[in-house]
Symmetry: C2
Subunit: 428 residues, 2 copies
């Protein structure tokens, strides 16, 4: 009798290391060939699952694991598709169970953020209602670092490292030119609701001083006058000023009159989808108009979350480990859990244990940045925050290069034969 | 009798590897202690020379050479200060010669772009007129790749590599999300008059295909309709489209109605100083408004020219070598020359010889991108361009990291004792 099969899908926004989780998952599955039949990756996440577009990873050569580990983005495609709940969208869940059943899938591994943990809970409920035996495991991933019950979210460590390194490098450039050129440099980073990435930029400081001189968090009420005074003080003191601003600055400061620019499309009515690429120009224009200082700005946008070339080794290894652990948990018969990272620090080192966390608790919470991580003046981080962040950017994990460029995975993408009639998911 | 001294200064915009030239210069000077007394670096470029602010590099430990080699920005400070000519601003040149004479400087090494080569010519003329014996050597540096008589400008190879790697990584991210999220990603790169950096992004393509699908050069007349049609075709064919736009797009397309944003300050009347951070939002908004596609954009700004963490080894080594060669040329008694890189290609390898080029010819020309390097349709590069660019991004040259971040140089900056009265340079 053939062995049962394992399903894997990627969900939501990408990171530099989500494929490292896929690589870990695939490695562990191959180590357990005696128990796992085929490994199917859904093409474009849950969309591919509904459409029965399943990539048979068993057909990929072994070398694909190493290549996956160093490739940013989502190798099988991801999607942001609102699946709703079994109550609101029963046809989606019925179809999903039909596809899993048709391909004899017993393990459902879903690699995503907090929202995907909720989807996992719904899928498990639908399977149970249908009397279909399924083990559901969530693999954590997000640059936003907002997943509950894990010390950090794989993906965050690398964007943190990219941000700290980039800010430090750019600050050296600005510092050397400030006497006769740009005085203020503004860098916009991701973070619509939480300032985790903005906070990580503070790691660029030497002994907690220097650039970035000011961080603008979405969690903090923005005061133009205080901010401008602090910019002026930094320029007077050091000759220049580096500002890091989270794209979500205006989400919690809705009176800010941001210019219309990036992330146009889709949800014009949804303010929260309209902020990338607006905060930095706004701050730069404000500084120039009010202080008459020459400003430059950068918007790193997708560059920051795909920068695998400067990934954190701790992050890559953690991503790999949660991928491995997901398979091991599945084989142990665990269900509705997420491999979470649990920090264990000694005086000299930081380790992370992997602990199975209940998905019901992961799905219902969001990890906010503690207020105690933001300095009293609102423009920097506290020692506690630095102590939390610093271990996450340790180590480098360079991809192998060929001809001057990183060698990325190239998949055959052999599809599993479809066994069901086509399904209309209601997209154009 | 004390040995005569050597002067070094950095000029204009920074690169990721200008300090590698400084390191090479310092290394060669120390190898020739029997002929060179002290090495003085001007603080903030020519400004520091006028103000007699000279950093005595002889007082820095030997370890500073390795640290300089891996530090982006300008370690001694740079400036954009219009020195004019000995005719238009005789007091500047008189002062400069006074400072050089007061510190017994016989070798004047100036690390900059094409404009700085012109300054070298003027300094030499002023020294000659004053009867002061001075050997003047220009060390090439710019991310713009527009210096004449050198195969490429040190600094360009690293920004080229950063751009190609970043575009490839971001494209993987966009490709994996395009079904339900962003369809078009626009990345703005430097280049006000020449599309060299934009061209380098094409190295991200695999076998000349894929992302970036469209490059917008300042050299090409921008046609909205043709561009939009090509975007639509790419999205139809591949599901997504990556566009790289040079910040100078509007310089040669003055009818483009760019929004007001970055690089505000200083020269509001000077259109050419008002373009960073405007081209990408403009293109993204155009695509969204006309095609209804969801867009994201990035503006890499200073990040691209300071990204020492992903520098090209060829570029770092070339920067080092022109620094070494400048000292050797000075000691050989050469005058008014620049160490230029001359390409020597075989079937398998590319080498660069270093050749002394006459500064009179360097200063009077600007290296434009050959029209034959841009594809006939204006949106890509030709095989000749690819063959030229590819050798420049070969090899990696990672900085040493400490605690998760690159270790950068930290200078004592011991100043030479001032021997002259203060000089009013006419800045506030």
């Amino acid at each position: 009798m053939p062995l049962p099969n394992l399903f894997y899908a990627q969900s939501g926004g990408m990171t530099a290391v989500i494929n490292a989780s896929a690589a870990g998952m695939l490695h562990a599955a191959r180590e357990n060939r005696d128990r796992i039949g085929r490994v199917y990756a859904a093409e474009n996440g849950v969309l591919g699952a509904l459409q029965e577009e399943l990539i048979d990873l068993s057909r990929e050569p072994a070398s694909v694991i190493a290549a996956l580990r160093q490739t940013p983005g989502g190798a099988f495609g991801s999607s942001r598709f609102p699946l709703g709940t079994p109550q609101s969208h029963p046809h989606y869940y019925r179809r999903l169970i039909d596809v899993l059943r048709a391909h004899d899938i017993r393990w459902f591994l879903y690699n995503g953020g907090g929202g995907s943990a909720g989807t996992c809970v719904h899928v498990a409920a639908a399977a149970k209602a249908a009397g279909y035996p399924l083990s559901v495991i969530h693999i954590p991933k997000t640059v936003d670092n907002d997943i509950a019950l894990t010390d950090f979210s794989p993906g965050f460590g690398s964007v943190a490292k990219y941000t700290a390194v980039s800010v430090r490098e750019a600050a050296l450039d600005v510092a050397s030119m400030a006497t006769t050129s740009t005085r203020v440099f503004v860098m916009e980073v991701m973070g619509r609701h939480a300032g985790w990435i903005a906070a990580a930029s503070a790691l660029a400081q030497e002994d907690g001083r220097g650039a970035p001189h000011l961080i603008l968090f979405p969690e903090v009420v923005f005061s133009r006058e205080t901010f401008l005074r602090r910019v002026q003080e930094a320029v007077k003191r050091e000759g220049f000023c580096v500002v890091v601003v989270a794209e979500g600055l205006a989400v919690h400061n809705p009176d800010l009159d941001l210019p219309d620019s990036n992330d146009s499309g889709e949800h014009r009515h949804d303010r929260q989808n309209l902020h990338t690429g607006k905060a930095a120009p706004y701050i730069a224009a404000l500084v120039h108009e009010r202080l008459g200082l020459r400003c430059h700005f950068a918007v790193s946008d997708y560059l920051q979350r795909s920068a695998r070339h400067i990934a954190s080794r701790v992050d890559v290894e953690s991503a790999w480990r949660v991928g491995v652990a997901a398979v091991e948990m599945a084989l142990r018969g665990e269900h509705l859990v997420m491999p979470g990272l649990q920090r264990r620090s000694t005086a000299r080192t930081t380790h992370w244990d992997i602990v199975a966390q209940p998905l019901s608790r992961v799905a219902s919470r969001e990890r906010a940045m503690p207020r105690a991580f933001i300095s009293r003046d609102g423009f920097g981080i506290t020692p506690a925050c630095r102590a939390y962040l610093l271990p996450l950017i340790q180590g480098e994990d360079y991809p192998v290069y060929a001809g001057g460029l990183p060698r990325h995975v190239c998949l055959k993408k052999t599809k599993a034969e479809k066994k069901l009639p086509a399904f209309d998911i209601g997209m154009e």
